[in-house]
Structures are given as structure tokens and as C-alpha cells.
Symmetry: C2
Subunit: 453 residues, 2 copies
Amino acid sequence: MEQVKVVLQDREIPKKWYNIMADLPTPMKPPLHPGTGQPVTPNDLAAIFPMNIIEHETSNKRWIKIPDEVLQKYLLWRPSPLYRAYNFEKLLNCPVKIYYKNEGVSPAGSHKPNAAIPMAYYNKVAGTKRITTETGAGQWGSALSMACQMFGLICRVYMVKISYEQKPYRRMMMNTWGAECIPSPSNLTQAGRNVLAEHPDSPGSLGIAISEAIEDCVTSKDTKYSLGSVLNHVLLYQSIIGLEAQKQMQKLGIYPDVVMGCCGGGSNFAGIASPFVCDKIHGKDVKIVGAEPSSCPSMTKGPFAYDFGDLAKTTPLLPMYTLGHDYVPAPIHAGGLRYHGMAPIVSHMVREKLVEPRAYDQLKTFDAGVKWARSEGFIPAPETNHVLAAVVDEAMRAKEEGKEKVILFNWSGHGLVDLAAYDAYLAGKLQAYELPDHEVERALNAIKDFPKP
Amino acid sequence: MEQVKVVLQDREIPKKWYNIMADLPTPMKPPLHPGTGQPVTPNDLAAIFPMNIIEHETSNKRWIKIPDEVLQKYLLWRPSPLYRAYNFEKLLNCPVKIYYKNEGVSPAGSHKPNAAIPMAYYNKVAGTKRITTETGAGQWGSALSMACQMFGLICRVYMVKISYEQKPYRRMMMNTWGAECIPSPSNLTQAGRNVLAEHPDSPGSLGIAISEAIEDCVTSKDTKYSLGSVLNHVLLYQSIIGLEAQKQMQKLGIYPDVVMGCCGGGSNFAGIASPFVCDKIHGKDVKIVGAEPSSCPSMTKGPFAYDFGDLAKTTPLLPMYTLGHDYVPAPIHAGGLRYHGMAPIVSHMVREKLVEPRAYDQLKTFDAGVKWARSEGFIPAPETNHVLAAVVDEAMRAKEEGKEKVILFNWSGHGLVDLAAYDAYLAGKLQAYELPDHEVERALNAIKDFPKP
């Protein structure tokens, strides 16, 4: 009988988040106020975020204490188990040892509650009564719904209408946790009404949903807004994944050669990677790989530029790899990776060659995902299938090179609410998508009038 | 920060199953061959089960070694965590400490793989190439699909047609794990064709699906049949739940006053309960409560009688509490509890007053389930909601009695694939169902010509 998992006791949970900002070898460009072109100030953000979260967004402190109230909720599923994927290794038959962090054990089934819990908590402390947010496929919306319920906050989620209709289970999760889920565009906001007036049948987009959530926030009493990825504070809260993984690998006496995650906005990837990036900055020989969809390849094909986080241009200008704020990604099933930009921190790490991005096509990712489900049991989320494709790729490279490697990756969530995607894949109905060249032209055009980072 | 979970390391997993047959204070009645009226022999069962499983079905040995190959697969999710439900306790505000075993952490999301893994393994060892089974809501079918895939067996699941259509996600799980899922009645068997000839629109039933799976088994090469509950060997394999729970409670230095589970065929309930029933037999003061649906109250309203396990009368006659093999339970959402009978072992324990049965209505169970999801986070399966209703009930009794109590129960699975049931409940569309008196008359009539136990 071989040991499959390293589980930590509750008392071993990390008590601090790790902030990679403290260790970046070169400073990041600041986000800019689109009106003035000047770096945004905490006050610029105060209309939508409480000040305690803004402090984290702008902090350079290396370690930030996790409040007891947050730890207490984390313990509902954390520390998450670290697994050795023996069965998948056997299937691949390559000279690799594969370890993974199972973030699918949370009540929402993904890593998203790692950030939702502290956000709800800090809002509660700051006197917020109600939170608005947007969601694409629904992972973030469901996680925040649960967190708000746990801290007694009202929660309204604007969900991209086509996902609202195609993925009813995530809407039902939000309702079960007591939140309101509104298909976007809606007639509850001016932004939504404008879209509906012009396109009554609009399927919605993350851009429109963000605009609705922010408008609802700034026009309502005691209401703040939450974003589930991209921003520094979100990546900070997710660092608990990597911190736990380091403890667990230490217990095995093993250090990984490669650390991998899938990348949409960047939060689960930075969550597992940032403590290892810190080691790399301090001289450790470790490769860090981010896997993105070839249909939405911001890091591998987009320019590094100042761009808006949303279509409606309501966010600050962020320095990041971007396919342009007006990009409409292909309808792949990994809804959580359909974002035009990449977290500024992750973008910076790619620029600094600390992180190596790779793009994988949807068909390759589902091939890896089905192989995984049939060997390891757990059915991965379509997003997670992207890192699995990268793991397969890395294992094959190890075989070609004749080198033994230890791979660690973040298994960001399960796919039990995304089974229709597997059904389509098994029926041969999924398509491969590559970004056409003209989309790169469009991206360059979208950002051409903005300041250059 | 308070400890929420007791997690065991892989090496602490129990290495033997516990067989309550060795400790029952009075002997159980044997299953009978319906043709001869005589106790069934191992050979009578050899057409549908391999001999190594038949040995377990008829064994009186107290401890049975778990093979290494089974332990290795168990380790994918076992030992499962034992939780203290602080948030639910706070909500109830009663003098109770509530501990629960989280069986929702398995890849299939329920306790079912505990039995599916050894069944696939023992069949593999015995030379079986292919397994047939039936499934209602799909929990058993999905668990067996995964287990067969892991041991390289072909798997065909006959799924009750109305569930096949209403719960497409579980069918998709089976397909993702490589199994074939056939809506029953089908035209692949004579039993199915007979039903279709008479009722082309038949929604199917567990009874018909069992007949199809057994016919397929006995008419196919190298094929055996598997059943996911009721029988002795299934309950044996599930004993790992209670054995782990005992280790975990010992680590806390606490012994429960009450042990609870929900009851359909009886496997998850016996799984958590049997090691505690053993203690009770040997003098320990512990109350053991089984929660069943008021729409399908075999233990609380059915006669104890010899009856068939299926509508088509293909099984041996089993001594059990039964609502009659021809009973069609109301369409409650806890599909896993819609079974006319109760495991002979559990029925015997009820007869011996070792187990106290209670029945709960669907609306009460969903009320408890939503309260649970909103405090503890994890969304329970509709089946699991029945034990939650019993926990609420027990907590209220403790308050009335002014007595402190420690409750331990089995959280048999999550409800992420059953969210449509929550949706219906929250929309006020669920109904309460109580068994009408004439159904008890019908039950008595159904069994009147069979031998009396």
C-alpha cells in the first residue's frame, strides 16, 4: 500500500497569506486612472471596495495575517489534500512523479472560496451590508454567494445570460446559498437597459456583467463590489494554496522541478505558484508554467499593455497581457478561462521570465481530462483540464529528454456541474479553437490610444 | 481558532472490514429460494455473483481483510474527514455537539464507491470481464462505472428511464467513466421488451431495471451482476465508514450518545452504525437512529416479512421490513431512498431494538438541508437531508429534555448533481408525502403467500 495523500491537521493551516509583491525583482507598473492617466489612489477605489481590502490591494508587505474568523471558515475544507497521481502516472508511462493540490474539496468545488471568504469577512468588518459581483460560468458567483451567507451579507450576482441559461446548476447553487442571481444584461441597471435597447436578444458578456455589478454597487446603499480574480488582493488570498503545498511537499522531503496551474484571470495559478516564484527569485531551480486556452491566449499572443479590465471601461487601466477589452472569446467550455486579460502580477512574472506560459486547445484539454477521470477518479473542471494538458505535455517532454521530473500542479476544481461539456466532448461535438491573426490586430487596435507601460 | 476536522493519514486507514453478522445476539433468518422455499445456497447465487463475493455474503467472520488493491483505491478519498458542525450547532442553539462523517469527498460524491471498488476488484480477480447493474437516481451506477473503469471491466448500467431523463448529469458521469448507461425499460432484454410492448411510454422502475440487469447478466458471457445496497456483503464493505469514525472519535476522546444515518436500502446507515451497534450489543449505552422517508417508510410502517428484492421476483426471498415488492414510491427527490424494502441486517437490528427507525417528510428534510448548506457550506444530497432532519429532531429533543448530547451521523453525499431538487424546493414546488393506509393493506397483500419469517 503506497501513500497517496499528504493531509495536514487543522492546526497546521498557514496563518498568514504570502504577498509576492514584496519579492518581485523589479517594480510593477501601477494601475492608472483612465481620466487623469495618473496612478490610482486608494480613494479612487473606495467607491467599490472597503478600505481594508484596498490596503491589501496596494500592500507590499510580505506576510499578511489571516484573521481567525477567516481561518475558521477555511477549516471547513482546508488544508486541502496534496495527492500523488499514481494512476495517471502509470497511464502516461513517463519518468515523472506527479503531485497535485486538490482544490475541488471546497463546498463550491473550486479554489474560488479561498478569496470569497476573506472578501465577505473584510466587507462585514467594514460595515458593508450587501455585495454585488458578476460571474461567467458561475464558479466565482457561487463561491461568493456561500461566503456572503456565512457572514450575513446580502449578495447579488450578475451572471452572463448565456451561461445562466446553459449552466442552470450554478445558478441553483447560488440560490441555495441564499443569493440572488440575475441574468445579464438585465433591466435593473442603466448599463443593462442600454444593451437590451440595442440588442434585446444579447447573450451577455463578462464585460456587460461587470458594468452592471459596478453600477448597482455605486448606486446602492451600503453596497460594495467584489471581483474574483485578476487583482492583487485576490491573488494574495489564493496564496494559501501554494503555502500549504510547500508544507506538504516538505513533509515528503521533495521539491518540485515544475509547478503548474491553469490561467484565466490568474488567481488559482498565482495561488499555487507565488511561494515557488519567491523561491525561484531567491535562486531555486524551478520551472513555473501557466496553461491558458489557445482560444484566449492573452499571455502567449496578446501584447503587454495598459488596458481596461472590462468592456465598459469602468475599471482602472491595468498593465497586463491582453487581447483587448473588446475581445469576445470563443465559446469554450472552460468559462472561467474566457477572460481577455491576465492578472498584472502574473503578467509581470511572465515579462520577468519567472513564469512560462503555454496555450492548449480545448480538444487536447478534454482528452487529458477524460484520461484523468478514468484513472484518478475525480472528474476535473474544464478549466482544470488545461493544466492537465500541460502536465501531459511536460511528462512527454521528460520522456523525450530522458530526465526524471517532479511535477506539482493545482487541480483547481471538479467538473460535476460541467458534465454537459464532457457529454459534448464524448459525442465528438467539441471544436478546436485557435486565435485568428486578425484578432491580434484588433487587440493592438483596442489598446493603441492608452498609455504604454 | 477551533479544530473543525479530524483527518487521518493514509496509513491509519482500517485494514479490515467489520462484519456485524458475527455479533448479532440472535441469528438472522436465511434468504429463501423462492422455488423450493429452502435457504439459498452459494451455488444458487453463482450465476450472478462471483464466489469470492458470495463468501462475504454468507460469512460470519467478524473481521475480513481488505485487499491492498482495494485499499490503494480507497486512498483516493479515504479516510474521509470527521467534522464538527459548529455552524449548524450555532444555528440550532440546542445543547448538542454534532459530528459528521463526510462521505461526499469521494469522486462520485457519495459513500457508494466504498462498495463499488471491492465489487469491481473481486469480480476482476474472479475472471469477470463485464458487470451489469441497475440504478435509480444514479449514485450507484456512477460509483460502479468508476470502479469498473479502474479495474478494467466493462460496465453496463440500466437506469430507470424517468431518472435517466430528469438527471442527465449522473448519466454523463457514467459515460465520462467509460460505462454504458441504458434507459430502462429497454429493448435490449426480453424483460424490457415485455414492458415496452404493454406500456410503450413506461417511465421505468427499479424493479424493471433489476430484471433487465439480471437477465443481461445471465444471458451474457463472462458477465456478473452487482447490487449497490441491501445485501450483507454491501453492508460489510460500507463498514469502513463506522470503523474510521470510531478511530476519529477516539482521537477526540469522545463517544457519541446517538449515531444516525439515512436509510434507503440500508448500506450507508449500516456503514456508519454497525461498529457502534457492536458496542451496544456489548453493553455500551448508545442510541442508533435510522431516518427513512415518510413516503417510503418500510421500517416504520411495513410488515417484517419474506419478500422479493425486486418487482420481477428474480431475487431470493429476503427477510425484511417491506412495503411489498410491487410498491411504487412517491416521486420524492431522494431517489436513493425510494426502495420498498430494507436490508435484512438492518431489519434484524430494528427487530432486536438495536436500531430505532424514524420517518421524515420531504419538506422537513429540505428545510434541514438548506439550513445546513447555508451554515456548513456543503450542499447535501436529498437522501442526506433525511438524516439532517433527524439530527434537528434529536437536537430539539435534547433541548426539551435539558440534556447535553453528542450526535454522530453519516453525511452520505453531496447534492451538486441534485440541485434541481433544491430549485423546486426553494420555488415552493415540492410536496409532502405520507404513506396512505391502503398502501399498508397492499403491502400485506403482496407478501401474504410467502413463507413467514
